[in-house]
């Protein structure tokens, strides 16, 4: 919020009338619950939202993985008839879209949501209700997208869905409509979330938390949000044009009517390439937290880590056409993009080498989290190196659309992004849920997974170089693809087993924890960043007291000094520097129905667009009701919560308006609360998102559709 000093909220009601106490739209009571199942639907707590992102995307990992298993089973032997060609095309398309948009991105969003505020020392994100909105929009969009399976079949154009094969003429089923509308909906969610988190990082940092003191994970996630902010509108344009073609009879991609199929390719990949870095950078961030922690050394070359992340994000905008080397664009374009792509290896190499330098000379504890991070370093390098071999355009004309590419992107996506995310799960699980995952099972998980992973995707390099094209529903005897395909299939089943082990681990550890609760304590790994300062699981208000940051790796430096050889020396017991989590009277935004209501409108509108416009009507009503309900609802329920709706306590909400009056109020703490009268009762004064927040949400709807 932070209304700048000169512009306090207006008393529009000429002073004497008290501001209206708005009971939100009469019928509904403001949700109050902060516990129990119902609270999950109305929560605006970034931690709960993060957890929901996590569980939902893990569910979709199972869905997408099941589709992958179908693919692999079909391809196990030549001429297999398990899936028809039509079904196969749907399955791999849905697999790709699911894994990219419904698994890796939201799983990264889960970590971003949970950790960003904690790592920068904030109580929540900048716009908590918009955060809930992002979750619901994404989740309902994802469900909407998957309902296509039951409504005439999934999308069948491949995840990049080249026109004109994606037009109604060539794909008359509704699958691609669901793709277009579903991705538009999820795009709205992601845009809102990206703007929200960008503002959070820029604006909500604890005192002293300068940009160059932020943990690397925060940095990478921040870069990802910026990439999202700029990449999503591009695919939005592409999808709008596709929707216009498919639903309203336009001919943007129909060559016989002057449309240009290349336009789709460019728009998709202008988005698509930043997108792949959107998927990998969060995992780079996670590895950059895990490796230093378990090596007991600070990250090596922090400024270079940050800088290379920025460089990757930036260069990612200039290489998109490397997906189009064989598409027939002119040789000069090919040359330019080929050279640009090659050099993206440089900043990425800096990262790999810095991780190794961090491990060098360390004292490495091989917890499961660390195993996954080291696995990432090794596996991503393989994927990255094959990526560099694609960057050579002449070579790529042999490689593109073969399994060599499939191998490349699974090594970076699975061996990079997903390994990182699993690493993060093992690392932060105790922080999030208050119990450890079993290390023994975790190691089984890791070793099975890395074995299965290499068995699955390693052979694909060979298959691809030997000419096996991707997106083929079958191959024949005599093409020489038999053996390695079988190996790959076996590997895929091994991966499935490893994921079952993981799930079993979660369940078993939870049961054990229930039977015999052992709290891991705030700082189970002797870690470095601020989130380890608060109890596990994180209390709802995050920090009892917002820490004042003086250093990179602030928490570590509160625990350790160092001797003259630079070796760490304890200066304080962990118990003394962590927070108790028992603060009371912390002011937090109140839960709200409206994000869910608003989000629920979108899929209905989607069904309406696809099947019958009348169905869009209830959707539109929900949408509008959601928006106005939201605007009319103060973000903080004056009568809710912590037991004092009166204002004789100078708690945060009263204090801040006044604090803002104070230009240099270093002691903006409690004293200033005395003049809080002015801001008192002014609902909008203390909300982190004044009315305009919802106005910008409106804009979002207008803008991204």
């Amino acid at each position: 919020m932070a209304i700048t000093e000169e512009r306090p909220p207006l008393e529009l009601t000429s002073g004497d009338l008290p501001p209206l106490e708005v009971e939100t739209l009469g019928v509904f009571h403001r949700p109050r619950a902060t516990h129990g199942w119902a609270s999950w639907f109305t929560t605006v707590d970034h931690k709960k939202i993060g957890i929901m992102y996590g569980f939902a995307s893990f569910f979709f990992l199972l869905v997408g993985g099941f589709e992958a298993i179908l693919i692999r089973t079909q391809l196990a032997v030549p001429g297999n008839k398990l899936l028809s060609a039509d079904l196969y095309n749907q399955v791999f398309t849905m697999h790709g879209v699911t894994m990219v948009f419904l698994v890796v991105m939201p799983l990264a969003a889960a970590f971003a949501n949970y950790l960003l505020p904690l790592q920068i020392g904030a109580r929540d994100v900048a716009f908590p209700r918009m955060n809930a909105l992002s979750l619901w929009v994404w989740l309902l969009g994802a469900i909407f997208f998957n309902t296509s399976w039951f409504l005439g079949g999934g999308a069948d154009g491949g995840w990049f869905n080249y026109a004109p094969n994606s037009g109604v003429v060539f794909s008359p089923s509704h699958g691609i409509d669901f793709y277009a509308v579903g991705l538009l909906i999820m795009g709205i969610g992601s845009t809102v979330s990206a703007v929200n988190l960008t503002v959070t990082v820029l604006n909500m940092r604890a005192p002293g938390m300068t940009l160059m003191r932020m943990p690397v994970f925060t940095w990478m996630t921040f870069i990802v949000q910026v990439l999202l902010v700029f990449a999503l509108p591009v695919i939005t344009v592409a999808l709008i044009l596709l929707t216009a073609d498919r639903m309203f009879g336009a001919t943007f991609f129909d060559a016989s009517a002057g449309g240009d199929p290349f336009l789709w390719e460019h728009l998709f990949w202008i988005f698509g390439h930043p997108e792949v870095y959107i998927m990998i950078l969060p995992s780079f961030g996670i590895a950059s937290e895990v490796i230093p922690t378990f090596s007991r050394k600070p990250i090596f070359g922090y400024p270079f880590m940050v800088g290379s992340g920025i460089a990757i994000g930036f260069m990612g905008w200039g290489v998109w056409a490397h997906h189009m080397f064989a598409s027939g664009m002119g040789p000069i374009s090919v040359l330019a993009f080929s050279l640009a792509t090659m050099f993206i290896a440089v900043p990425t190499g800096v990262k790999i080498l810095n991780w190794m330098a961090t491990m060098y000379g360390g004292r490495i504890r091989f917890t499961t989290a660390m195993l996954f991070s080291v696995g990432l370093v090794a596996m991503f390098t393989i994927g990255g190196l094959s990526g560099v071999t694609h960057a050579f355009a002449p070579m790529d004309t042999q490689q593109t659309d073969t399994y060599y590419i499939v191998a490349h992107f699974h090594y970076v996506l699975f061996g990079g992004a997903l390994f990182g995310l699993f690493s993060g799960m093992y690392f932060w699980w105790p922080k999030i849920f208050g119990y450890f995952l079993n290390e023994k099972l975790g190691k089984w998980h890791f070793w099975l997974m890395i074995l299965g992973f290499n068995l699955t995707f390693g052979p694909m390099h060979i298959l691809g170089l030997q000419g096996m094209m991707r997106r083929t529903y079958t191959y024949t005897e005599g093409q020489g693809f038999n053996g390695w395909n079988l190996v790959a299939t076996i590997g895929a089943y091994l991966i499935a087993v490893s994921i079952l082990v993981f799930m079993w681990n979660v369940i078993r550890s939870y049961r054990q924890h229930r039977a015999n609760p052992v709290n891991p304590g705030p700082d189970p790994w002797d870690a470095r960043s601020l989130e380890w300062m608060v109890p596990s699981p994180t209390p709802e208000h995050n920090f009892d007291e917002v820490p004042v940051v003086e250093d990179f790796d602030e928490f570590w430096h509160r625990k350790y000094g160092h001797d003259e050889q630079g070796r760490p020396v304890r200066i304080a017991a962990t118990e003394d520097v962590v927070q108790k989590g028992d603060a009371t009277d912390v002011h937090l935004p109140s839960p709200s129905y409206w994000p869910l209501v608003l989000a629920a409108g979108l899929p209905l509108i989607g069904y309406g667009l696809i099947f019958n416009l009348w169905w869009a009507l209830p959707g539109a009503i929900l949408l509008i009701a959601g928006i106005y309900g939201w605007v009319l609802e103060p973000s903080t329920d004056p009568s809710a919560g912590h037991g004092h709706d009166d204002d004789h306590h100078h708690d945060g909400d009263d204090g801040d308006a006044a604090a803002l009056e104070e230009p240099s109020g270093d002691e903006a703490d409690t004293a200033s609360g005395d003049e809080a009268g002015e801001g008192a009762g002014v609902a909008s004064a203390d909300e982190p998102e004044p009315a305009m927040a919802s106005a910008s949400a409106d804009a979002e709807d207008g803008g991204s559709k």
Binding site: D254, A326, G328, M356, T381, G480
Partner: protein, 407 residues
């Protein structure tokens, strides 16, 4: 330091293991036998150019791969915390970074890449060279087969229209002009050159030049719908003399069928098939006695409506000059004739047409290859009776030089 030694030993062992693995793979990976689409077995000049770039790039990538892997393994062993590690003892020095080092490992990869970039550019320019006096062949992709048009006299109308198997002379530059009649496809003969997309509304060029007569497999590699996975084709590189024979045979009109069954098949063909397929001279409204022409009708396939796929179907004049059909899925000849690198497969000693395959196709084409004829994508199941199928097969096998007196 024992830990050091252990790490070194493990690293050496894993280096050896990785190198052994590489060696095993490299030994087999470039072999063409049994792997007709192998990208690492060039038989054409362009593919060879690519190969010449691939080898150094893969070598560099391989070296970096080995270095990184071995370094990781070494460190994992070397710096593993002992199980009895106690906090506060033997803590690692807190190094924060080293700027010269950072700059070093920014510059070294950049330099490596810069060197490779030179090769990259050279190869790229070389591949862009269309050569001298190239033979031009127009290739059109459609769901899910390829058509080839040879305009021999440069009058903008093709003299030869054929499908599935493209034929080219050895030792001469051939410029393939790639087009599409519906969605995006990609024309790829890995032994000869990289792939290039067929994009509706555009013409893209690809150059082939091979000194090695042979039959090279290809595959459509841009996802193009239902049967993308089996949209295959071949390029047959003939010695120049044989190629001239091929041209001569292909520009002759088919002869009138002589047997009664074939004549019945001919009439059936006009009634049932000619609305899509062309045999030079026949039209759906032709009436007996049928006369053939030695040139395809200039209208054939010109009016392709790129919002519909199968406005045209393979031109079947001289059908028997091919060795495979139905998108390279079925053999048209039995025995050696199926794979012989000759201009006229019917002249291979003992050549007999594979009627079983032809019948299989006519009985239900969708059984061979998934198609969606209702949506104008591919050939419909015409529900022919067995007799009709026999007659049609007898007719189809007359379409080619085997029935003509040898030249």
């Amino acid at each position: 330091m024992p830990r050091n030694r252990k790490a070194t030993v493990v690293a050496l062992i894993s280096t050896a293991a990785i190198l052994l693995g590489f060696w095993l793979i490299i030994r087999t990976i470039g072999q063409p036998t049994g792997k007709p689409l192998n990208t690492l077995a060039p038989f054409g000049q362009q593919a060879q150019d690519i190969q010449n770039l691939t080898i150094p790039v893969f070598a560099v990538a391989g070296v970096i791969f080995v270095l990184v892997m071995v370094a990781v393994i070494w460190m994992v062993v070397r710096f593993r915390a002992p199980d009895d590690a106690v906090e506060g003892e033997h803590e690692p020095a807190q190094t924060h970074g080293n700027t010269p080092l950072e700059i070093g490992w920014t510059i070294v990869p950049a330099v490596i890449l810069a060197v490779l970039a030179v090769l990259n550019v050279q190869t790229l320019l070389r591949l862009d060279d269309t050569g001298e006096n190239p033979l031009e062949v127009t290739v059109a992709g459609q769901q899910w087969w390829w058509e080839y048009r040879y305009d021999l006299d440069g009058d903008q109308t093709p003299e030869i229209v054929t499908a599935t198997q493209m034929v080219m002379p050895a030792g001469r530059d051939v410029t393939v002009k790639i087009q599409s009649n519906d969605v995006i496809h990609s024309f790829w003969i890995p032994s000869l050159n990289g792939k290039k997309d067929a994009v509706p509304g555009r013409t893209h060029e690809l150059v082939f030049n091979s000194d090695n007569p042979g039959i090279y497999e290809g595959q459509c590699t841009e996802f193009c719908g239902l049967s993308h996975g089996v949209m295959r084709m071949q390029v047959k590189v003939l010695p120049p003399a044989e190629y001239d024979v091929w041209i001569r045979e292909m520009t002759k009109a088919p002869a009138q069928p002589t047997s009664a069954a074939a004549s019945r098949g001919e009439a059936l063909f006009v009634g049932q098939c000619a609305r899509c397929h062309e045999v030079n001279g026949l039209t759906p409204d032709s009436t007996p006695p049928f006369t053939y022409s030695d040139e395809p009708s200039p209208d054939y396939g010109v009016e392709v409506d790129s919002s519909l796929s199968s406005k045209n179907a393979p031109n079947l004049t001289n059908f028997m000059m091919r060795q495979t059909f139905a998108g390279n899925l079925l053999a048209l000849w039995e025995g050696d004739a199926a794979t012989a690198v000759v201009a006229v497969p019917g002249q291979v000693p003992g050549a007999t047409p594979d009627k079983v395959n032809i019948k299989r196709w006519l009985r239900n084409p969708q059984d061979v290859k998934p198609m969606d004829a209702e949506n104008n994508q591919g050939m419909p199941n015409l529900n022919l009776s067995e007799d009709q199928i026999d007659d049609l097969t007898e007719y189809l096998v007359t379409l080619g030089p085997s029935t003509r007196p040898a030249a």
